[in-house]
Symmetry: C2
Amino acid sequence: MSSQQPTEQRLTIREIAEAAGVSAMTVSRVLNKRPDVAPATREKIEQLVAEAGFVRSRAARAMRKGRHGLIDLVVLSLDSAYILEIIRGVEEALEPTGLRLVISATNGEDQRERQWLAKISDGWTDGAILVLAQGQSARVQSLRRRRTPFVVVDHQGELGPHVPSVGATNWAGARSATEYLLSLGHRRIGFIGGSPTLGCAQERASGYQAALKAEGIEPDPDLVRPGTFLHESGYEQTMALLDLPRPPTAIFAGNDTMAFGCYSALRARGVRVPDAISVVGFDDVLVAPLVIPPLTTVRQPLADMGRFAVSMLLRQIEGIPLDALRVELATSLVVRESCSAPAHPGSQQAQP
Amino acid sequence: MSSQQPTEQRLTIREIAEAAGVSAMTVSRVLNKRPDVAPATREKIEQLVAEAGFVRSRAARAMRKGRHGLIDLVVLSLDSAYILEIIRGVEEALEPTGLRLVISATNGEDQRERQWLAKISDGWTDGAILVLAQGQSARVQSLRRRRTPFVVVDHQGELGPHVPSVGATNWAGARSATEYLLSLGHRRIGFIGGSPTLGCAQERASGYQAALKAEGIEPDPDLVRPGTFLHESGYEQTMALLDLPRPPTAIFAGNDTMAFGCYSALRARGVRVPDAISVVGFDDVLVAPLVIPPLTTVRQPLADMGRFAVSMLLRQIEGIPLDALRVELATSLVVRESCSAPAHPGSQQAQP
DNA sequence: TGGTTCGCCGTTAGCGTTAACGGAATGTAT
DNA sequence: ATACATTCCGTTAACGCTAACGGCGAACCA
């Protein structure tokens, strides 16, 4: 039931060795599953280890081997469901490897970034996954200099071509979302972009434009609004769109969070979704199906991106060359209930 | 711009010492900010360290000192905004300490729990925060035996009285939410509970009952539904409540996720919130204000709970006795737009 | 039978850091 | 001048583990 040992002093490999009547080295060999141990000896040691509940000190091991069993996940912030999905994927992929997941948020603060660099610079990490790196070239440089394997998730292209990265088909996703709205009959489609410094935001904007042009529609600059990927921004830009002389009949938000801001603005104005205006998001965060009306959005396989980043990282750690530096996972349009055909083919506005 | 050093071999304390013309021990003293070093020597060494960008190996340090600078956050799952809030609080509180946050999810799987225990059992963690521990007494036992400091967040009382823990005033929060519905005129208030094995779920149920009894209302067993804290459960139990001969005029869901399930069910049935039925949640997750209509809910200061857990943990690590083993942070009702007076209980009808 | 290979295991020597102790130089009290 | 405290720094010896090497016996080949 409860332990007899009052102090439970840490066991060492040597004590196991003594109990087994062998040298510490032999125990080490068994623990490392190396072949050159007689089956009988191995079994005996394994049994003793199991009985004593012995686990070797990772600190000592790390010191000898230079590996610590830690993977760093560095994120910009911990305040959106977006990041949670990625964390989940990373955690799941890491779990069977025995590596442990260390999370840190920089919140865009320069000081924290440097602190983080100092922490990992002693080799205290086996590899890093950088999410939504913004202006991170210094960081990337530093990692490379220290030969720390890393993978960037959802990065901007400006980090250079030789950066291992995982992303999603932002362009194609944005294009298909726009095409969907076009197919419903919409001709004036508003677009609320994400932080323009982010590659993924640029790609989405570009996919939107491409779809319009393919249909022979010249994008109206008034309908393309800058955004920040935050809720507020979705709210404000929607307000601005509604105030246009000819407001759009549909709004494509650069991510789900802004789409929710869009919902709030439309509600404040008494504009019904999807009857009076259609809304499409991007990401498909966990709550997207739960809001009212359930949000039609472009699904980005965030958890899979996390998993993929881990597998690329592990390959680097093991010295296996990557077969592709840049991996883009497919996005897909998830049609729910936030879109319908425009009320009138021209323009219209609902007022309470 | 970029580094001249092609291989950037790890520096050791000894090399710094050599450059400074002192012994390694003196450098160690400087790095540990110990007093017995001449100011001139200290300055010289500090300068050399800064120039070389030297950081001492944590592995070696950990081996000597027995501390690793890691804090474990063990969660049940990574699929709700609930946990993200806690993570955020923990990360923020940990950041200035230099300790690093290791996250692992058990997903309720027994095997993973044991793996996790094996990982930390080598002292590879300085302390642990267990969130929503379910049937964790074995874990807690093991931690205690190994003298690993830990704190439990949102735990069940059955872990025993001597477990350091952080929670929220679930009972008071549930009571005030129920009182609010009563004050609006509701007399038939449905309750969808959380996993009954969880202490916080029990407390909320109990707070609900207490509010009713204080008003002289005998709780109708039909109106009290079991739940699981998951979205589906909110959906199903709402359906069941609607199918009652005398359905409730308001529903109090045990957490926000279930309240969203409730929204979905009501929408599927064409029941408007809050006109036809009022809904209250619990937690106040990030999206609670973003859904339509914005959810009235009991705010649980999850991030603060995380922060508090960290401070309790740090005290334990430093050997400072805790002034309170159990800390309960205050919940507060956040009134938004999901509630109104009941449509037809003899009182008047509310219209916006 | 002598030599070679091979499986198994022990010995030695650190990895980079720091606790504990000691010692030299200077200052201070008797 | 002697005794003693103080300041600053070096020496030694680990912490627990494992790479590298070497050695011993047994099995194999000629």
